[in-house]
């Protein structure tokens, strides 16, 4: 089974499952709190995401093969803002329930998680939390226990309300929209994929931070390699490394683990020679960084 499960385009059983109950949704909302429990740099929140929606998936895909298919594609790279994740959950679950094409679910998931990540960071990490901290910190400093308690109640309370509300709202939203779309399922899959792929291209830019710090020795005017790369096009290294990974996986049939090892080696060997940007002293010192 295993190998073709990953490439499946459709579920084998295409009859829509029974709608998920309020209780199911609530359970998954609670589980959403562990979105980042297995966070890592390859897939980020993927495993936590899958674990979060598993109860739903198990209800929907009674057939074991379909469950495998669904679990597999839900192990794709995933990253969004934790407070807003239930919005993505609801909409994906509604698609799963209707047995939409795998490509469609994939694309909708990608298209939703990206923008929500950015919005959430701006809204919560950079606005909401500092405000809560600002209000309560002085209480704590003045020795009052109310400070930390208020801090916890507000911060945790707001996110929970949000999580529950987003889950039920987006599940409903997805369920309503789906009817119209299945009539033109094939066309919808294609356009959803377009959106997804477009957003992946964007993620290479927004998530890609890899840069080099090499100064090519050149008499009195050493040349900043990153600067030169940027004149070709910015984010060239992230682009190149993504292409490398893609090529290894697609053409050379590398497993992801093997690619990870390759990158680990590239990372550390690079650091030995001071290739990658960062605040460290390379082992081998073959160029000097000009005083700023």
């Amino acid at each position: 089974m295993a190998s073709n499960v990953k490439e499946a385009a459709k579920y084998t059983d295409l009859t829509p499952a029974a709608p998920l109950s309020k209780a199911d949704l609530n359970k998954m909302t609670w589980r959403s709190l562990q979105l980042q429990s297995a966070f890592n740099y390859e897939r980020m929140q993927a495993a936590g995401w899958l674990w979060g929606i598993l109860p739903g998936l198990e209800k929907i895909h009674t057939n074991k093969e379909d469950l495998a298919i669904s679990m597999s594609h839900n192990m794709d790279f995933f990253n969004t803002h934790p407070y807003l994740v239930t919005f993505v959950m609801g909409i994906v679950l509604s698609l799963e329930q209707q047995k939409a094409d795998i490509a469609t679910i994939r694309s909708v998931r990608v298209a939703a998680m990206g923008p929500l990540g950015g919005i959430g960071d701006a809204l919560f990490w950079y606005t909401f939390m500092p405000i809560v901290a600002g209000i309560t910190a002085t209480m704590a400093i003045d020795g009052s226990l109310v400070g930390p308690i208020l801090y916890f109640v507000i911060a945790f309370g707001v996110q929970m309300v949000l999580r529950f509300w987003l889950m039920s709202w987006s599940y409903k939203l997805g369920s309503n929209a789906i009817g119209i779309l299945t009539k033109n399922a094939k066309e919808f899959t294609r356009s959803a994929s377009i959106l997804g792929v477009f957003i992946i291209g964007a993620m290479v830019v927004t998530f890609g931070g890899t840069t080099t710090r090499i100064w090519i020795p050149n008499g009195d005017n050493p040349i900043n390699l990153q600067g030169q790369l940027d004149t070709i096009f910015p984010k060239m290294l992230p682009f190149a490394i993504t292409m490398l990974c893609y090529w290894l996986i697609k053409k050379k049939n590398f497993t992801p683990v093997k690619v990870i090892l390759v990158l680990l080696v590239i990372g550390i060997v690079g650091a030995i020679f001071g290739v990658w940007a960062g605040d460290y002293t390379p082992l081998v010192d073959w160029y000097t960084v000009p005083a700023a």
Binding site: N79, P130, T138, A140, P148, Y151, I194, G208, I260, Y280
Partner: protein
């Protein structure tokens, strides 16, 4: 050395270490964590003061897109140990704890880099339709992170000052290892992208990938728009997708059901 204090400290640190990414993502903040640690060490009041002060220092220091700021959990533990056990002043304790926060940042980066390896386990569980396997992966991950931090907390408690010196030294002499791991960590996500692309990118969608890359490059290089890149991209991408949908539906409807398919392209 007070065994009960050490155990309590290890337990709460275990929880905070997990909480900084999962669970409440609130408990671990200095504001809440420090008073709790204070309780463990028998000095709630110092906990409140250190917590409030530290929280204000860390305002805006949040993990965005998985990038790690100086680690608040280890910072808080050490600051509290210094303030309560070594009797340092609040400011001095916070100052001395910075190196630990930086070290904690490296630890998390390393863990997140290495834990990428667990994904193949999760993939296998998925392919076998085995929910328990996924649960296991998440539990193991959380346990590992918690345990590691608990150990570090104990070390900090027992040998805080020496540890500080050692860390400073390590940071100087072997910084390239950390530098390498950070660099590698930053590259891991490209594996995730590549896996996604492998499946989504049928050859006829390459154009949209490139266009997405180019447009995001444009937007994110306009200073005031940098933070809005994703949402504006979603607007534009939605327009393109919708247009494509309409055109293809139109083609289909005009002909009934045709002979060729959408993806007959290049």
């Amino acid at each position: 050395m007070d065994v009960i204090q050490v155990i309590l400290l290890a337990v709460v640190t275990f929880i905070f270490a997990i909480d900084q990414f999962s669970l409440t993502e609130t408990l671990y903040r200095p504001m809440v964590a420090c008073p709790i640690i204070g309780l463990c060490l028998g000095d709630l009041n110092t906990g409140l003061v250190v917590g409030g002060t530290y929280e204000l220092m860390m305002v805006g220091n949040m993990p965005v897109g998985g990038a790690q700021p100086p680690n608040a959990v280890l910072g808080a533990v050490v600051a509290m140990v210094f303030a309560v056990k070594s009797g340092m002043g609040v400011e001095a304790a916070l100052g001395s704890s910075i190196i630990f926060a930086v070290f904690g940042q490296y630890v998390v980066t390393t863990v997140f880099t290495i834990m990428s390896g667990l994904m193949s386990k999760a993939d296998k569980a998925a392919e076998e339709a085995n929910p328990a396997g996924i649960t296991q992966v998440t539990v193991v991950s959380m346990g590992l992170l918690g345990a590691l931090f608990a150990v570090l907390a104990i070390l900090a408690y027992t040998g805080g000052t020496q540890a500080a010196e050692m860390l400073n030294e390590v940071q100087e002499s072997a910084s390239w290892i950390m530098g390498g791991l950070s660099a590698a960590g930053g590259m891991m996500r490209f594996v995730g992208f590549a896996i996604l692309m492998k499946i989504m990118l049928s050859s006829d969608l390459w154009g949209f990938f490139l266009a997405g890359f180019a447009m995001a490059n444009i937007i994110s290089n306009i200073e005031v728009l940098a933070n809005s890149t994703m949402i504006l991209m979603a607007f534009i991408g939605f327009a393109i997708a919708l247009f494509d949908f309409q055109v293809n539906v139109n083609i289909k409807n005009r002909v009934g059901s045709g002979t060729g398919g959408t993806s007959d392209g290049i």
